[in-house]
């Protein structure tokens, strides 16, 4: 009798386990996205947090195709080999369905061989160097690039400044001086400016960025002051922003247009009192909330979730990458790669960056998303959009205010 009872209990347990396994198999498998960012940098930290925000929103609304969404994030550490290892791990151990993220062309160049090996749908938010585009090569229909390439950016600056000068005849843009950090980023900016604005008077001089141990800009600022340009641009890093403005004030250098072109700004720059009237390039600013509902929704979600402001355009780019993929998968109705690629190639996504994103061929790749940077200006401690005019949130403050403001 006792043995029969034991047998019955065992059968119930086995049946229960089988049911439990069956229930697990029946549960919807998550759709997995693998993200690689430099997490020690504000661009990567906020980009990855924004991607997670998008994933949380999707899951709160039932996921994608009724399946939950998971985001696995790995730090690239700004290193090509670490970035490549992250792709290998995401592909072979985490078994992700999509690759997203990215910042830095150097890291991306290291990742490209691994990306080409796995050929999973990739929605990349960083890397502007045309060398990365050449490394990807033509006919890679799985590769989608959101960030504009360097030549797209250069062309958009020419277009933007020309449009601004036409609309506001007081604004002169004939004489340029570029102060550029002596590394790859600054030197490439100077070369590109010389080529793009070849019909204008251009001069320039390099400086050692504070990020590379420098920080004394007096000589280059004195030369620029002597040159008396219509437009003064400095191309360096966020570490240069405050000291370059301080030193410009010290020598009373106030050109009519004072433009800064770092990839990111110090979080406190707007509050510094040195920012007023400084023009900059970027893709997004909180002021876009007044002209874009998607931007306002993203901004409010980010601030309420993380109790901080997104301070770089890589933040909304991370959010956008996830949302574009989600929209394409829903439209495809399955996880079939070809069907999703077809949907992505026809997508029109209203993004938090203001513009509606669609993909079209660029010089080499088949699927290039954004092609424009915006021209913005610090006004009253906030970045206002000056151009493209359809997203403009303010009129230009011109000329740059004198230092006895």
């Amino acid at each position: 009798m006792r043995s029969r009872t034991l047998l019955a209990v065992a059968l119930v347990l086995v049946a229960g386990m089988a049911f439990a396994n069956g229930a697990q198999e029946g549960a919807a498998e998550p759709i997995r996205m693998g993200g690689v960012w430099p997490l020690g940098d504000i661009t990567g930290e906020q980009g990855s947090k924004s991607a997670q925000l998008a994933v949380d929103e999707l899951n709160a609304n039932g996921g994608i195709l009724g399946r939950p969404v998971e985001l696995v994030v790995i730090d690239s550490e700004f290193s090509p080999d670490k970035g490549a290892a992250a792709i290998e791990r995401l592909a072979t151990i985490e078994n992700v369905d999509f690759f997203i993220g990215g910042m830095s062309s150097g890291v991306h160049l290291g990742q490209i061989p691994a990306l080409k090996r796995y050929r999973k749908i990739t929605m990349w938010t960083g890397a502007a160097s045309h060398l990365a585009e050449e490394a990807i090569g033509p006919d890679q229909d799985w590769y989608f690039h959101l960030h504009p390439w360097d030549y797209n950016q250069g062309a958009s600056y020419v277009e933007g400044w020309t449009a601004i000068a036409e609309r506001y005849p007081d604004i002169a843009i004939d004489r340029w001086f570029l102060a550029y950090e002596e590394g790859a980023f600054g030197s490439a900016s100077f070369e590109a400016t010389q080529q793009l604005f070849s019909d204008m008077e251009i001069s320039g001089e390099s400086f050692q960025s504070a990020a590379a141990g420098g920080g004394d800009y007096t000589a280059v600022l004195e030369r620029a002051k002597e040159y008396d340009p219509d437009v003064f641009i400095w191309a360096g890093y966020d570490a240069d922003a405050l000291p370059i403005m301080e030193q410009a004030r010290a020598i009373d250098f106030a050109p009519p247009l004072f433009v800064g072109a770092p990839p990111g700004w110090p979080a406190s720059f707007g509050e510094s009192g040195l920012a007023e009237g400084v023009t900059l390039y970027g893709m997004w600013a909180p002021s876009l909330n007044s002209v874009s509902d998607v931007s306002a929704h993203y901004y409010q979600s980010y601030v309420s979730t993380y109790d901080e402001e997104p301070a770089t355009y890589f933040a909304p780019l991370g959010y956008t990458a996830v949302m574009i993929l989600a929209q394409a998968v829903e439209a495809a109705g399955s996880m079939d790669q070809d069907a999703i690629i077809a949907e992505l190639q026809n997508i029109e996504y209203d993004s938090a960056l203001g513009e509606t994103i669609s993909f079209a061929p660029s010089r080499v790749i088949s699927n290039q998303g954004i092609r424009q940077q915006k021209i913005l200006q610090w006004q009253g401690g906030e970045q206002q959009v000056l151009w493209p005019f359809e997203f403009a949130t303010s009129e230009p403050e011109y000329p740059f205010p004198s230092w006895d403001r």
């Binding site: 730090d75 550490e77 160049l109 490209i112 691994a114 090996r117 030197s187």
Partner: protein
């Protein structure tokens, strides 16, 4: 009795070699991700060994990143303009960088201590600036893509390539330790005047060590370029290629082959795993670990283990003598 005592000592190197072989070949069956991590570990390991080979003479070099980057560019230029096959670019880069180091070393090896260290640091920067500005040859700030990477990027084949290169570097380092060069370099480090009076040709030995170690760094730079298929001034001459091998050597222990090997394996693997568990902030923990280990283990892990083994051996010998008495 004595033969029984000696047996474990004879067996130990074989056990160590078998373990090392197992560790070396483990990534081959573990998949592409462990292979990528292992390739990275081997890269830094070779740089750490080469740095240690020169420091055995007392000459402190901060020029690893410079010769590493120069090797990468030599490989890229050799493959692009001279049609050197991918794997042979490693040899090509080693020779080019070795010759460059020989020419530079002929001048700078008159310097000692911090003067030499600062010159090597400056050399790395000069190489970077030359590559950065010689746009017609090197692609300038944007760098250049290699026509094709070694074994078309096959992860097993490229791992084996790195393994063979690492074995060669370990072999050269061990040859250094068991040849006249070792005694000469040690004598130079201990007391240069005494070494010179004993007939050691200091200049020739230092020049040989500098050229060989720089050649190794050039070959490793070439292998890195072949693994990822590109070179840029910023990534190829990154200061991490100087700092990380130094940290690995200090962690593992200086003045020998196995200290850098142990340091590279430990820091490489720990660094990778830390970031999986602490995605935001792992570099801070990594840095704290390095500082603590260097503070509390100034002779490195290998030095600590050796010291422990020597102490226990002395204790055993003393107790045997006591027992016999």
């Amino acid at each position: 009795m004595s033969s029984i005592e000696q047996r474990p000592r004879r067996r130990a190197p074989w056990v160590f070699a078998a373990l090392a072989a197992l560790l070396a070949f483990l990534p081959l069956v573990a998949g592409p991700y462990p292979q990528t991590i292992a390739r990275s570990v081997l890269t830094y390991m070779m740089l750490a060994i080469s740095w240690d080979m020169l420091i055995r003479s007392g000459q402190l070099s901060f020029g690893i990143a410079g010769f590493f980057g120069l090797g990468g560019y030599a490989a890229a230029i050799g493959a692009t303009y001279l049609g050197v096959p991918p794997v042979l670019t490693l040899v090509f880069a080693a020779v080019v960088v070795g010759v460059v180091a020989l020419l530079i070393g002929a001048v700078v090896l008159r310097l000692r201590g911090m003067y030499f260290a600062i010159v090597t640091l400056a050399l790395a920067e000069i190489f970077r600036i030359v590559m950065h500005n010689w746009s017609s040859l090197t692609g300038g700030p944007n760098g250049m893509l290699l026509p094709r990477s070694a074994f078309d990027g096959n992860s097993v084949a490229t791992y084996l390539m790195m393994l063979v290169l690492a074995a060669v570097v370990i072999g050269v380092s061990e040859w250094f330790r068991h040849s006249r060069i070792h005694f000469a370099l040690t004598a130079i480090r201990d007391n240069e005047t005494v070494a010179a009076s004993a007939g050691v040709n200091i200049y020739a030995y230092l020049l040989t060590a500098f050229a060989i170690t720089s050649g190794i760094q050039g070959a490793v730079g070439a292998s890195y370029a072949q693994l990822f298929g590109f070179v840029t001034p910023e990534s190829s001459f990154n200061v991490n290629y100087t700092l990380i091998p130094l940290a690995m050597t200090l962690l593992g222990g200086m003045y020998g082959t196995w200290g850098p090997v142990v340091g590279a394996v430990l820091l490489g693997v720990v660094g990778e795993y830390l970031k999986l568990f602490i995605p935001y902030g792992h570099l801070l923990v990594y840095g704290v670990i390095i500082v603590l280990v260097i503070l509390f283990m100034p002779r490195g892990i290998v030095g600590l283990v050796r010291g422990h083994l020597e102490r226990s051996r002395r204790t055993t010998t003393a107790s045997e003598k006591g027992g016999a008495a």
